[in-house]
Each structure stands twice: as structure tokens, then as C-alpha cells.
């Protein structure tokens, strides 16, 4: 089958699945039958986790820079987009509704605030990334952690987004929507999850992506080969942050309630566990990790109380064991069944690029061995 037909067929299947699943989760159900709301909710939250994990994987798995503040960028996206929805979108939505009808009008407004959330998160990523990414990787970890904490404190200080009470809708002296509208449904969340996977996949398999991977493999060598490492690290970080912002925007419009307690340190850690479990440098691995880490705790609820309280202990023990036995994550950099997402290739397979720009230092997937050799400090 020609690639282009494959891609169209893929798109059709994805759309049918999204619409079908969304209908099954809705009030009416699909042909009168529906998924239990509890399952629907978990599936939606899983979709959001997938966006978070895949985007974190771009900076941590592919570029090799360790960020532990992903929840902070998610919070930035969530709060900024919901802020726009609550305070500045009602008039616009009415106007658009008059113009193109309610459904499309709402969708356009939602798309607008998602993009706004992504942009603000990207900006935050830029501000945090420039100072810390100039230096060696370890500092990024601490600075992102600190940044997430500062973001939390700043949000708590802003009365207009509910402060410590949480953000449910307008806060009285100001005028706006009384309740955050539930714009997000599975079409949006699932759609953006697919979009994130496709975009990250294409970035990773482009010149930029090769530069990212070269930084992961050996920063000094990459620098010596002419890769502007700081620039590429910041770029990777900004892209990653903006996707976290999108996840936040979807979360806010799905949950209809925001509170800083949902964006704490432990949330960032959860996302890291997803990609470690899945494999750093594997998109499909990140997706699997996101699914497991979101659904597993819900399944564990059936355990008796004592055992249930040990679930976090099991998580962290798992993290340690994986790091000792498979430092690249369970899947490593292996992917499965994703080649059809790639942009159509002009040159035939197997023909090595001769003098293209970009740095073909490391072929993808990278053998885990190369990472192990990075003991430059020893």
C-alpha cells in the first residue's frame, strides 16, 4: 500500500475510534450502551498521562536532560488556559456561536485557549531552560524542581485563580464564567495524545532529533561536531514544556477544577516513573508506561488497605530495580509498529544520508551500551 493511503486510512481509523469511544463514554452511550463513567474517566486521565510522558521523554529520553518539574509546566498550561476560558472567552464564544454554530464555536475557543496554555508553558520553559541548560545536566533537575515549587507558590498568591481554595470558575470581584466549562472530552484528549505522539515521532526522526540524540550520547562530542548544544537543549525543553502545557489545559477543562495540590512534586515523579518504566528514548514505551502507571493504582484499589498503602513503596522499589538491571528503562530505545507515522521518505531505505546538515552521530535506536560508557567523571 502506498504510504499516503496508509496515512489516510490510519487517520480515518483514529477518528472513528475517538468518536466511537467518546460516544461510549457519554451520557447517551453508543447505541444505548456506554462505558461505566469511572472507566471513561480513567481512560481520559490516561490520555493526559500519555501526552505528559511522551513529551517528557523528548527532553529526558531523547535529549538526555533530566527534568523533574514537568508537573509545574502542566500547572502553568492548566492555569493560564483556564484563566483565559473563565475570564476572557465568553464574549468570543457567543460571537463565534452566532457565526459558525455552538459546537464549532466552542471548539475554536477551546483550541485557542489550549494554544495559549501551550505558549505560556513554552515561555516558562524558555525562562527556566536558558540559565540551567547552559550548565551540565544535574542542575536542570534541581532548577526544574525549584521552578515547580515557585509556580505553586505564585499560583497560591493569585486570588483571581482561586488561591488555596482551588479554581472552579470566576472569583467574585471579577466577572467571568461561574464554572469552568467541560470542553475536553475524549475526542480532544485522545486526539491530542495521538498528535503528540506523531509530532514527537517526527521531531525525533528529523535533523533536530538527531541533534537531540547526539547531545544525549555525548555532549562534548556533539559540541565538537558543531551542534549548538545549548540551543538544542533549550529547544527540546521548550517543546517538551509546551506539550505539558497542552496536557494541563486539557486536564483543567476536563476536571473543571484546579488546585495546586494536583501539581506537586509527586506528580512530576509519576511522569518520570512512566518513562523509566517504558524506556527512555522509546515513544511507544512512554505510552505503555503512561497507561500502566495511570491504570495500575486504580486496579490496586481492590487490594486490602494495608497492601494498598504500600503501592508507592512498590513503585520506588521498581524504579531502583529497573535502574540497576536496565538503566535504559524496560523497553530501552525499542519501538514497535510506529513506522507508518513517519513523513513520506524521499530517498529509498538503506541509502545513508551523505552530506545532509545535522549530525548523524548516533543512529536510532541507540544501543544502550553507549550510555553506559558515559562515566567521564571517573
Amino acid at each position: 500500500m502506498p504510504t499516503f493511503i496508509k496515512r489516510i486510512l490510519g487517520l480515518v481509523v483514529v477518528v472513528v475510534l475517538l468518536v466511537g469511544m467518546n460516544a461510549a463514554m457519554g451520557r447517551e452511550g453508543l447505541f444505548g450502551f456506554g462505558l461505566p463513567y469511572y472507566y471513561g474517566e480513567i481512560i481520559n486521565l490516561t490520555g493526559i498521562s500519555i501526552i505528559l510522558a511522551v513529551s517528557l521523554n523528548l527532553i529526558t529520553g531523547f535529549t538526555g536532560q533530566f527534568s523533574i518539574g514537568h508537573a509545574g509546566f502542566m500547572a502553568v498550561g492548566a492555569y493560564s488556559s483556564v484563566f483565559m476560558t473563565v475570564y476572557y472567552s465568553e464574549g468570543l464564544e457567543k460571537w463565534l456561536t452566532g457565526l459558525v454554530g455552538a459546537t464549532l464555536g466552542q471548539s475554536l475557543v477551546f483550541l485557542g485557549v489550549i494554544i495559549f496554555g501551550a505558549l505560556v508553558a513554552a515561555l516558562a520553559g524558555l525562562v527556566v531552560g536558558i540559565p540551567s541548560l547552559r550548565l551540565r545536566g544535574d542542575y536542570l533537575a534541581i532548577v526544574t524542581l525549584g521552578f515547580a515549587e515557585i509556580i505553586r507558590i505564585i499560583i497560591l498568591n493569585i486570588d483571581r485563580v482561586g488561591g488555596a481554595t482551588g479554581f472552579r470558575g470566576r472569583v467574585p470581584p471579577w466577572d467571568g464564567r461561574p464554572i469552568i466549562p467541560q470542553y475536553a472530552n475524549f475526542i480532544w484528549i485522545g486526539g491530542f495524545a495521538v498528535l503528540t505522539i506523531v509530532i514527537v515521532y517526527n521531531i525525533v526522526n528529523s535533523d533536530i532529533g538527531r541533534a537531540f540524540i547526539s547531545i544525549r550520547e555525548d555532549e562534548l562530542a556533539a559540541e565538537a561536531m558543531g551542534v549548538n548544544t545549548t540551543r538544542y537543549k533549550v529547544l527540546s525543553f521548550v517543546i517538551s514544556s509546551s506539550f505539558a502545557g497542552i496536557a494541563g489545559a486539557l486536564f483543567g477543562h476536563f476536571r473543571q477544577f484546579l488546585h495546586t495540590n494536583d501539581f506537586q512534586f509527586i506528580r512530576s515523579i509519576e511522569i518520570i516513573i512512566m518513562i523509566v518504566l517504558g524506556g527512555m528514548g522509546s515513544i511507544t514505551g512512554a505510552v505503555l508506561g503512561a497507561i500502566v502507571i495511570t491504570i495500575l493504582p486504580e486496579m490496586l484499589r481492590k487490594l486490602p488497605g494495608d497492601l494498598y498503602s504500600y503501592r508507592l513503596v512498590i513503585y520506588s522499589a521498581l524504579l531502583i530495580v529497573i535502574m540497576i538491571t536496565r538503566p535504559q528503562g524496560v523497553m530501552g530505545a525499542k519501538e514497535f509498529g510506529l513506522s507508518w507515522l513517519k513523513r513520506p521518505q524521499r530517498r529509498p531505505e538503506g541509502d545513508k544520508p551523505a552530506g545532509e546538515k545535522g549530525v548523524p552521530i548516533a543512529q536510532q535506536p541507540a544501543p544502550p551500551k553507549e550510555i553506559e560508557q558515559g562515566k567521564e567523571h571517573a
Binding site: 467518546n22 453508543l30 444505548g32 462505558l35 477544577f257 488546585h259 507508518w340
Partner: protein, 419 residues
């Protein structure tokens, strides 16, 4: 590619085929078998001691009810879920309790922010929810299925302001509040408003965040302002230390607090430095009334610890619910909701509970003095006017001034394209 798509299709078909249920089936718990009530709270997070106390209280009440023959011949069964103190998880577990466990009513949460995240789920599914101790006024404004059995922040803040102005004759007050806590900020605002309207002056406002270990900076700044009283509407963990460090800085002004102080650990943390401070609370374990003494003794026998206010409120929430089910004669949601709303002068452990038109409990607060490692009853302060059917004036004025008056949000507003 074919395999990926095929796998996706297969999974979806399986999900829809096996997991799906018919939409529109009613959910009133049937009319036979045990009555299933859901409890959700923080059982493993930072505030887990509150969630555990409340759960203990509710479970003890359920056992008492079952021993006495149940409600209308049916036993009560409480299904518990842990939300780890996170709003997002609270919403998820409430969805689970409603849709998987088919509970007929919900008890929870302690923290207002968690209740605010979960209440819309209960409202949407039209399942009555009684919060034992979420004191933020916004909680019950979510909709007409959301109730509470505790007083609200405006009232509690006002109680302490009145007490310090009238009983302690304080002119200058300083405030040290927990910035991270909605509860603490609520009490702070209402104390400030009430105290200044009584002619007092706020000379210093300082804040900390939950988990802080050093308060000397704030206390030194407060000392420089030389207040008569220091209002600390926080939780026991920090308050015990604040009291200790206050003493070490040589500050003589007493601390005033709220129900968040009430926990056995307070005494170990603060020790004798706590003497001479005052708190407002829902009830006093020293109250000589036989009903309270029986509750205290039973609880002590069962859990080997003195019940704190949260345990008493959890107990009362369950009892109020049981009373409503008995009066409604059914667990059908609309009738049950109306029965809860009609609760009048219900004699609970934490006072006489009447539900007002805003679905808040109208009841008096007690002021307790801390002395020799004990809470000693000092005085009772009732809502202005007597607790009768209409809303208490407090509720009216305070919510008007916070601007949270907005009529209870009509549930239809929450309707969404997705559900």
C-alpha cells in the same frame, strides 16, 4: 501498521463489548439488602490523620446503627476509598463510588478543596453528599445535593473575633495563618473582618506553609508589633511548634485557634507552652452531657484514643444521614435529598444540627481554653439569632461580603458536551 490498527480496533471492541452497560439505569440502591454509603478521604497522604479520624467516627456510627437493627430493617455498609489528599483523585474515587459501588450517599471530604473537586461529580449523578468538616462556604454552593454538618469558616472566624474582643478585651491582634490552606485563609479573612468591625486593630499579618519547621521569623515580626492576642488558624502540626517557638521568643500574648488544633499530637508537640491559649471547636470532650460522654467512652473503648472533633463530625454525618433515610423511608435520591435538607434540631455529638436553606449546618461553637494538657470548656457562642429554620444571619452577611453569594450554582450549568 496493520497490526497496530488491528490491535487498537480489537481493544476498543472488547472494551465496548464487555465493559459497557446500558445507559439510563436508575441508581437508587434498590430497596432490599444493605444500604451502601461511600466514604472518601485522605488515608495515606499528609492529612491522613484527619481522614482516618473521620472514617473511624463514621464507621462507629454505622456499627451502632446496625446493632440497633439498622435503618428500616436494612443494615448500613460503608465503602471506603482513599484519595491521598489530592483533589484530582478525590473526583476519581467519587466517580468510582457512585458508578461502581452504587452508593446511595457519600460522606466526605475533610479538606474543602477535595470536597470542591468531588462535589460536582455527586451533584451531576444526583447522589446526596454530606461533608463532615469542609468549612469553606463554596462547598455546598456546588448544588442542591451537597450538605455539611459543620459550621462554616465565616462563623468560626467570627466566634474567635467576638471572644477576643468581648471576653479577652483585646484591642490589637496579630494573625499567623497557613497560606497553603484554604481553611486557614478563610478563618483569617473572617476573623480580620469581624475583629476590625468590633473596633479592634490588626497589627501584623504573617503566613507560613504547611510543613514549615521554623516560625521564628514571623513570630519575631509579630513580637515587634506587640499584639494582645495572636490568631493562628492552622493545623496542630505547625501550631504545636509555633506555640513552642513563641514561648522561646518570650512573647506573652495568648494564641487563639480553630478546630484544626484539635488532635492528640498537639500536646506532645507544644507541651506546656500551650497553656493559656484558646480555640474554637465543634464540641468538647469534657462536655458533661451524657450523650457526649457516652460517645467519648465508646470511641475510646473502640479505638483506644480520645475522639477529636473530626471523629465526632464523621459520627454525626453518618447519624444525620441515617436519620434522613429513616424519615424518607427510602434511599431514592430525590426523597433522600429532601429529607436531609429538612433536618431540624438533630441532636448530634457536636451540637444541635439544623440544615439551613444553603445546606449548611447551623449550630453553636464552643470556646475551649488549653490548660495542663487538656481542653477546658470556656464558653459557647451561638450563631446570631437562635438557630431556627431560616438561614443564620452569619451566613448571609459573610457570604455577601466575600461575594460568594451567587445562588447555588444550577446543576445544569455543569452540563458538558462530553457527558
Amino acid at each position: 501498521m496493520k497490526r497496530t490498527l488491528f490491535a487498537l480496533l480489537l481493544i476498543t471492541t472488547l472494551l465496548i463489548g464487555f465493559a459497557c452497560e446500558r445507559r439510563g439505569a436508575g441508581n437508587n440502591g434498590g430497596s432490599t439488602g444493605p444500604i451502601v454509603v461511600g466514604y472518601y478521604g485522605d488515608l495515606s497522604g499528609r492529612t491522613s490523620s484527619f481522614g482516618q479520624s473521620t472514617k473511624n467516627g463514621a464507621e462507629m456510627a454505622a456499627d451502632e446503627i446496625n446493632k440497633a437493627g439498622g435503618i428500616n430493617g436494612r443494615t448500613v455498609q460503608i465503602v471506603t476509598e482513599d484519595d491521598q489528599g489530592e483533589p484530582n483523585k478525590a473526583a476519581t474515587v467519587v466517580t468510582k463510588l457512585i458508578n461502581q459501588d452504587k452508593v446511595i450517599a457519600l460522606l466526605g471530604e475533610v479538606a474543602s478543596s477535595n470536597s470542591l473537586a468531588a462535589a460536582p461529580k455527586a451533584q451531576e449523578a444526583k447522589v446526596p453528599m454530606i461533608s463532615p468538616s469542609s468549612t469553606n462556604p463554596q462547598v455546598t454552593q456546588v448544588g442542591d445535593y451537597i450538605f455539611r454538618v459543620c459550621f462554616i469558616d465565616p462563623f468560626q472566624g467570627e466566634v474567635m473575633a467576638k471572644f477576643s474582643a468581648n471576653n479577652l478585651h483585646a484591642k490589637k491582634a496579630a494573625i499567623l495563618y497557613d497560606f497553603n490552606s484554604d481553611y486557614s485563609r478563610g478563618l483569617y479573612q473572617f476573623f480580620k473582618r469581624s475583629f476590625t468591625s468590633l473596633g479592634g486593630q490588626i497589627v501584623s499579618e504573617q503566613s507560613y506553609t504547611q510543613g514549615d519547621r521554623d516560625f521564628s521569623g514571623q513570630l519575631t515580626a509579630i513580637r515587634a508589633a506587640n499584639p494582645d492576642v495572636i490568631y493562628v488558624p492552622g493545623y496542630y502540626g505547625e501550631v504545636g511548634v509555633i506555640s513552642n517557638q513563641k514561648k522561646q521568643l518570650g512573647i506573652k500574648a495568648p494564641l487563639l485557634g480553630g478546630d484544626g488544633w484539635d488532635a492528640p499530637q498537639l500536646w506532645q508537640l507544644g507541651g506546656s507552652s500551650l497553656d493559656g491559649n484558646y480555640i474554637s471547636n465543634h464540641y468538647s470532650v469534657d462536655d458533661p452531657s451524657p450523650a457526649i460522654q457516652k460517645f467519648v467512652a465508646d470511641y475510646k473503648a473502640r479505638y483506644n484514643i480520645l475522639p477529636d472533633a473530626l471523629a465526632a463530625l464523621g459520627y454525626d454525618a453518618m447519624k444525620v444521614l441515617a436519620d434522613a433515610i429513616k424519615r424518607a423511608g427510602t434511599t431514592e435520591n430525590v426523597k433522600l435529598r429532601d429529607a436531609i435538607a429538612q433536618t431540624q434540631n438533630f441532636q448530634g455529638v457536636t451540637g444541635r444540627i439544623s440544615i439551613d436553606k444553603d445546606r449548611n449546618a447551623v449550630k453553636p461553637a464552643v470556646v475551649l481554653k488549653l490548660q495542663n494538657m487538656k481542653f477546658v470548656y470556656e464558653t459557647t457562642i451561638s450563631p446570631e439569632g437562635t438557630p431556627v429554620t431560616s438561614a443564620s444571619p452569619n451566613t448571609g452577611t459573610s457570604s455577601a461580603s466575600t461575594g460568594t453569594t451567587a445562588p447555588p450554582a444550577p446543576p445544569t450549568k455543569a452540563a458538558s458536551p462530553a457527558q
